[in-house]
């Protein structure tokens, strides 16, 4: 349990708690001589307790004012889930429908809108997953680091419906997604023991030739750590697919058939890889559901316990001390009123 204070400077008032040790709450009264009174352990103890109660009340109030609280903690739990980097193609064609039209002309749903709908559903249902977001068009773009901030993830998925940019640079996007996993492994210090599943979900509607140099770098990077790769390919009507075989007159080169060759490249990476060719919103939903089913490895995740305000507790202690002190005060008797003749009108001597 870690305690902390909201206003630590308030603690400068804490020495005030020593005040009651110097002066009690009881009334002082004139008495001829204390020489005859013997030291009484019980009275001394009572005196000390009363003074301590005063100290306790002051200390309680000061701690409460300083905002004593228990820090938020995270507890490690085990569940099913994964660390997933969503890698979005933000090229302009993502804003077209599966039929290749602008969404306004046909009333159909654009590819990015469909992707947004199903991925948001996916993110909301996956309770323990941690998500990171990267995007790419001409250049890779870091959007959000891997985290369990659900609404941040949803905000970033919302943004994929915004107009996209020109090109599709898959290679650099993948490199960015990989480096996000790397920095996450470093920043969590392998807290999950390396058992939890790490995945990249690539959502794109096209492919491009990956530069030879970038290919080698990706191969090396994928070799270093096991990462599951899913490619949701949003195929536009009439466009080439990733499972297309070259016809007798077609050139079987990456430039002529980038989708097929990117798929082959992924297959040759020797990592768990699955490709989904999606031609309508319903198929996209199925693809997401399949990923949901596959990415269910046990993982350790951190459950956050929010910070707890303890000032109520210390105020209660202070209130209790003050209550006891007030009671004691009520039980006080006045020596000078009893037995000694006093001017009339100063209390009722028979009252005891």
């Amino acid at each position: 349990m870690t305690l902390a204070f909201t206003h630590p400077y308030g603690l400068l008032l804490l020495p005030l708690a020593f005040l009651p040790l110097f002066a009690g709450v009881q009334d002082t009264e004139p008495y001829p001589s204390l020489q005859t009174a013997r030291s009484d352990p019980l009275s001394n103890a009572a005196d000390l307790v009363l003074r301590l109660l005063g100290s306790l009340a002051i200390a309680g109030l000061v701690l409460g004012l300083a905002g004593l609280h228990r820090l938020g903690q995270s507890i490690e739990r085990t569940g099913e889930g994964a660390n997933i980097v969503l890698l979005f193609d933000r090229s302009a064609s993502m804003n077209d429908t599966f039929a290749g039209d602008a969404p306004t002309t046909t009333g159909g749903e654009s590819k990015s809108a469909a992707a947004r709908r199903f991925l948001k559903e996916f993110v909301t249902t996956r309770e323990h997953d941690r998500f990171g977001i990267a995007a790419f068009s001409t250049a890779p773009m870091f959007v959000l680091p891997l985290s369990d901030h659900r609404d941040a993830t949803l905000g970033a998925i919302d943004a994929i419906e915004q107009p996209g940019l020109a090109l599709t640079n898959v290679g650099k996007g993948l490199a960015m997604a990989l480096s996000m996993h790397d920095s996450d492994i470093l920043s969590t210090h392998g807290a999950d023991g390396g058992i939890s599943s790490r995945a990249i979900v690539l959502v794109s509607d096209g492919a491009a030739v990956i530069d030879r140099k970038v290919q080698q770098k990706l191969e090396a990077a994928f070799l270093k750590r096991p990462i599951n790769l899913y490619w949701i390919f949003l195929r536009t009507e009439g466009a080439r697919g990733i499972f297309d075989r070259p016809g007798p007159n077609d050139m079987d080169t990456p430039r002529a058939m980038p989708e097929r060759h990117l798929h082959l490249f992924f297959q040759n990476l020797k990592i768990p890889y699955k490709a989904f060719e999606v031609e309508n919103p319903a198929a996209l939903g199925e693809a997401v559901a399949t990923i949901d089913k596959l990415e269910r490895r046990p993982m350790r995740y951190q459950e956050r316990i929010p910070q707890k305000d303890l000032s109520g507790v210390v105020y209660a202690v202070a209130a209790l001390s003050l209550f006891l002190l007030t009671l004691v005060k009520l039980a006080e008797v006045r020596l000078s009123d009893r037995g000694l003749s006093q001017p009339a009108g100063r209390g009722h001597p028979e009252e005891q």
Binding site: V25, G54, L61, V143, A152, G155, L322, L330, G347
Partner: protein
């Protein structure tokens, strides 16, 4: 009944302290109305933002790093339940990285996202700042958020002689702040090679010094070597110092006036927050406010009086009045 304690100030003070402490214990959290803001910030990632002509903690840093630091600080100062979205600008339009999200719960993510802004994210080398601002206004209007646009105002290629491109929206429809970043003296633009390494500074012949698309200016015929067909802009190289850069405040002020935004130069984080607050449309949210400190501090004050001030006064009074007098009073 009457207890002796009732006649004593100390008892009443203690009772008051007790009541106040109980009040601190049981007082409900008051729901107060507070202002929250929805903001979307766009950061210019064009090459001129790499110029190191601003300083942070005494060390020169690039305009982009300066913007990032101030923006992080700005988000940290936003009240909880405010929302913040982030986007980037290059070429002639903006690109939204994420739509506005709540700032307190997602702070670490937002902070990391701002930290990762890099000029390499830029997808083209052009820098049509005015068009970018126009596009950003449309996006911010759609997101229903106050716009923050960080730029040095350096247009590349330079604006044509006809001036600003027309603004299609309604000026003032979207509130926002155009933030100028950079020093006021001209410094050369840094130059990068194909792999993105800095290799020096640009020279006058590296950049377009004049926008030669469209019609030539009316005074072109007086230029040396002018020919209506073969050299409508004249045939001598011009040097408009476009390879040098500074924060173009006049231009940004003109853009701000055209679009109904406010202009401010980026200085401190606090100033930025105030300038933003002056233009932003706050959204009223209810937040639980802790008012327990008021009764509790009053109770503490009373206890200090009871245990500190009263005994001191008594002792002082005791010293003044002599003991024999007291005895006489007790035993007349």
């Amino acid at each position: 009944m009457s207890r002796p304690a009732f006649r004593e100030a100390r008892f009443w003070l203690l009772a008051a302290a007790l009541l106040l402490t109980l009040a601190a214990l049981f007082v409900p959290r008051v729901m107060l109305k507070r202002d929250a803001y929805d903001a979307v910030a766009f950061v210019d990632l064009t090459a001129s933002m790499n110029t190191r002509d601003v300083s942070l903690d005494g060390a020169p840093v690039s305009r982009l790093d300066f913007t990032k630091q101030r923006l992080k600080n700005f988000v940290a100062r936003m009240p909880c339940q405010s929302k913040f979205g982030l986007g980037i600008f290059t070429a002639r339009r903006v690109f939204v990285l994420f739509e506005p999200i709540e700032v307190c719960r997602n702070f670490s993510s937002i902070d990391a996202a701002i930290g990762e802004l890099d000029w390499r994210m830029a997808w083209e080398g052009d820098s049509y700042v005015t068009l970018g601002v126009h596009d950003a206004i449309a996006v911010a209007g759609e997101l229903n958020a106050t716009l923050l646009f960080f730029t040095d105002g350096h247009e590349a290629p330079p604006l044509p002689w006809t001036g600003l491109p027309a603004f299609e929206g309604k000026p003032g429809d979207v509130r926002g702040l155009l933030v100028g970043v950079g020093g006021k003296t001209l410094v050369p633009l840094p130059k990068f090679d194909d792999s993105g390494r800095e290799t020096g500074t640009l020279t006058a012949s590296d950049v377009l010094q004049e926008n030669r698309s469209g019609l030539p200016p009316p005074d072109a015929s007086s230029r040396p070597g002018w020919h209506p067909k073969w050299a409508p802009f004249g045939d001598m190289p011009v040097n408009n110092n476009e390879h040098m850069t500074s924060v173009k405040e006049d231009h940004l002020n003109a853009v701000a006036a055209q679009t109904g935004l406010a202009y401010a130069r980026l200085t401190g984080a606090h100033a930025l927050h105030q300038q933003f607050g002056a233009v932003a449309q706050p959204r009223s949210v209810t937040a639980a406010a802790d008012i327990r400190a008021y009764p509790a501090s009053l109770a503490l004050l009373i206890l200090v009086v009871v245990f500190g001030v009263l005994p001191l006064r008594e002792r002082a009074a005791h010293r003044r009045s002599h003991a024999p007098a007291r005895l006489r009073e007790a035993h007349p």
